[in-house]
């Protein structure tokens, strides 16, 4: 259970897209429809999980001079693996992701987690961190994708929501993507702020006071 925090932090508190603002390029480009956003999210999650595990396993053998090239090699290997699989079994998803599938190699989320987390932690923690971050990325993409698809196409996963709704093409265009992205960041920021404010303020005890030595901990300055 001690690793639970590594898993959950990626979903909201350190969400890679909406809080850390990493991977903005694939976020805006592949979220026109829900199906392609989920495809992109799951492909990235898979690469993130595998590369985190492998990098965490081999971290002790890699000399620090060639640290980044080695990480990139491992990541590129997994990305190529995913693109082979998609190309032969899910060609329509492969087509709709296009160049952004190969660009997972240089996705800052994956390289960032490899450099910041997997190269310093053990395998279990790295794997959980990878899954958590991946789920956070997929959820963020799915959310943006569904908002854009519903408003811009009047469909959800290709199923029409009814003729009463006139689709607003603006939301499918890149400008609409930026708008939805910005609004979601604002919403997540508000939620996170509300969450931190709810916590009872920690007692600022004498033990933490920088002037403790001066007053010898009498505790009358409250």
């Amino acid at each position: 259970m001690k690793y639970m925090k590594e898993f959950t932090k990626g979903i909201l508190k350190e969400n890679p897209v909406l809080v850390m603002l990493l991977g903005t390029c694939p976020t805006l480009a592949t979220t026109t429809l829900l199906s392609s956003s989920l495809g992109m999210g799951l492909a990235t999650t898979f690469v993130l999980l595998c590369s985190n595990i492998v990098i965490s396993l081999i971290k002790n053998f890699i000399p620090k001079e060639v640290r980044l090239p080695s990480y990139i090699l491992v990541i590129a290997g997994f990305v190529t693996f995913v693109s082979f699989i998609l190309q032969s079994y899910l060609p329509s998803l492969y087509e709709s992701l296009g160049i952004f599938l190969s660009l997972i190699v240089v996705n800052c989320i994956i390289l960032g987690r490899a450099e910041m987390f997997a190269s310093k932690n053990n395998v279990i923690a790295s794997a959980l961190d990878g899954i958590g971050m991946g789920i956070g990325f997929t959820l963020a993409l799915g959310l943006i994708g569904s908002i854009r698809e519903i408003l811009g196409c009047g469909t959800i996963l290709g199923i029409s929501i009814g003729n009463w709704f006139e689709p607003i093409i603006f939301f499918i265009t890149p400008a609409g993507g930026f708008l939805v992205f910005g609004v979601l960041i604002a919403v997540v920021n508000t939620i996170l702020k509300a969450k931190t404010n709810k916590k009872p303020k920690e007692e600022f005890g004498c033990a933490n006071c920088p002037s403790k030595d001066v007053c010898a901990g009498k505790g009358e300055c409250k």
Binding site: T30, L33, P63, T80, F84, S88, E95
Partner: protein
């Protein structure tokens, strides 16, 4: 000596990692059969798209070599009265990769139907050209496709498809003598 260690060890490690990954990827490449994905239609697709021309249960490939790169294949039905041209739109418009379409013809050169079989356009915008209702606009078109309307919000993709169909109409005139 210390310098040598700083240079040689990283080089060896990096080489080993690259080799392992390359070998594993080569295995995946062979197992998934990505290299064998040719331009032709698979058996399933031949049956799936058969309704593009009348009286057809399964499309049959016609042996014909064309110098046109954008003409990927020619198919026909059992009675050999109709033709289907498999085209791609590279060099006309489209975006990252060419759109691929099947264009079915009657023996008099009018279009029976159009089917988009590969559409790597922006999901939600360019992919609207796959809509069957829109493609019905091509049914019965003869000689030139320039009068067919484009779709709002998918202008570039529908123009690309239209020029592809235009190309198919021209190619039909070229190949019909040899094939029909």
């Amino acid at each position: 000596m210390k310098n040598m260690k700083n240079i040689i060890v990283p080089t060896i490690v990096l080489t080993i990692i690259s080799t392992i990954i390359a070998v594993l990827l080569a295995l995946t490449y062979n197992l998934t059969g990505v290299g064998n994905l040719g331009t032709g239609l698979t058996d399933e697709e031949l049956s799936e798209y058969a309704n593009i021309i009348p009286n057809c249960k399964k499309l049959e490939l016609v042996e014909y070599t064309s110098e046109e790169k954008d003409l990927l294949g020619i198919y026909t039905n059992e009675s050999k009265e109709n033709l289907v041209l498999h085209i791609k739109t590279a060099g006309y418009a489209g975006k990252s990769k060419p759109i691929e379409a099947l264009v079915g013809f009657n023996s008099d050169g009018s279009i029976t139907n159009v089917k988009v079989i590969a559409c790597p356009e922006t999901p939600g915008l360019g992919t609207k050209i796959q809509d069957e209702k829109y493609l019905e606009n091509y049914v019965g078109v003869k000689e030139t496709a320039n009068d067919v309307d484009t779709i709002t919000s998918a202008t570039i993709s529908s123009k690309a498809l239209r020029s592809g169909v235009e190309f198919a109409l021209k190619q039909f005139e070229v190949v019909k003598e040899a094939v029909l």
